[in-house]
Amino acid sequence: MTLRLGRHEFADDRTLMMAIVNRTPDSFFDRGATWAEDAAFERVRQVVDEGAEIVDIGGIKAAPGEEIDAEEEKRRVVDFVARVRREWPQIVISVDTWRAEVARAVCEAGADLINDAWGGADPALAEVAAEFDVALVCTHTGGVAPRTRPHRIEYEDVVAAAIESTVTQAERAVSLGVDPDSILIDPAHDFGKNTFHSLEVTRRLDEMVATGWPVLVSLSNKDFVGESLDRPVGERLPGTLAATAVAATAGARVFRVHQVPQTRDVVDMAWTIAGRRKPARAIRGLA
């Protein structure tokens, strides 16, 4: 199935790198490195040069912290989206927000995709996606409120729960008018999940792929990697890439990442091993 992300279309044998661009002073990985608008702009330039197809711009860190209201969130992202849109018409602009009000403003500024990382917390978000004919990411959070950590959450079957939740959201979005070719589902590692849950979702990701909805994974440097390897943030790239290889082999299509080139190579290698992508240029033994 062709994937349509706002102004952009991608054939079904394509994998996509979604590069994280934080307009936050306090996100866990970059710790405010791109808080200043010009620094965030340079980050976009870098990931575009590295071949990312999508930038995912966020104005609020996922973890609990200072309350950021919709006005402040819009101040952080709306004009920035417009600036990125002007400079790079060819890039897919995603905005990481759960608020319909913010989604509306960034769609008017040129966004192509709404990354609803908090699992439909604001039911009006999908209506905005339909109204502006942009794409939507439907995520599983186990029902937790935005920016809350998982605490003693348990599932009878975490994968079944993730499928049920994301597919229900996807079907609801279609019923509201979102193009079925413009919906992604995301099990949302570590959102409403302990490390064992995130590992199981990774191990059984093929079950999500089998739903037929294109799957996005957001694995990059997360705590389930850190806890699996006992590595602090900053030392999680090898673990991230191992999880990426497993998800790519299962058939994930979009990878939300901090490190674009490394992830691109791992995903291409995994898809090539899986026989979904040809080698770049193979002649050894074939002349």
Binding site: R277, A280, I283, G285, L286, A287
Partner: protein, 173 residues
């Protein structure tokens, strides 16, 4: 009796199952497909001859690529001879470097360009085997079936990976 002879190399990289995102043999493929298409377009039957395990599949793949709709059989008037020169033409060649490769290939090259079946009949398959050439004995054995005079064209002759490949077309006058 043979009326048309095409010499192309049985290069596995020409097979669809060994395709890459960037074709490492694009020039060879373009030339081989063009010549095979031009030489077999009117033919009801084509023979594929060679002594390499890839001769038959590569010959069929080239015919498929040109949309050939006829039969593949023995003793046809149009023949694809799957042959190449030495694979020992450099230190990075499949068979590494053997200095004798160049003189051997020059002899085959001259025979292919001559249009003279007697030059094919004089080729040396034993040296060809030692130097990792392919189909040399096949070319020699075709010679008695190539009567008369021939118009010859060799649009491709190159060794980008240490193996000398030709695309040659012989058409009976």
């Amino acid at each position: 009796m043979i009326r048309r002879l095409v010499v192309v190399p049985p290069v596995p990289a020409l097979l669809p199952r060994y395709a890459s995102l960037t074709d490492p043999v694009a020039d060879l493929r373009r030339s081989a497909t063009f010549v095979v298409g031009a030489m077999t377009r009117e033919a009801e039957e084509v023979s594929i001859v060679g002594d390499d395990p890839f001769a038959e599949p590569v010959g069929r793949a080239l015919l498929d690529a040109t949309g050939f709709a006829g039969r593949i059989g023995d003793d046809a008037e149009v023949v694809l001879a799957m042959a190449n020169g030495s694979a020992k033409r450099g230190e990075k060649a499949p068979g590494h470097l053997d200095e004798r490769a160049f003189e051997f290939d020059d002899v085959v090259d001259a025979a292919l360009r001559s249009g003279d079946p007697r030059r094919l009949a004089a080729l040396d398959p034993e040296s060809g085997a030692e130097l990792w050439a392919s189909g040399i004995g096949v070319l020699r054995d075709l010679a008695p079936r190539l009567e008369g005079t021939w118009r010859v064209s060799v649009p491709y002759a190159d060794a980008p990976y240490g193996v000398l490949w030709w695309v040659a077309a012989w058409v009976a006058d």
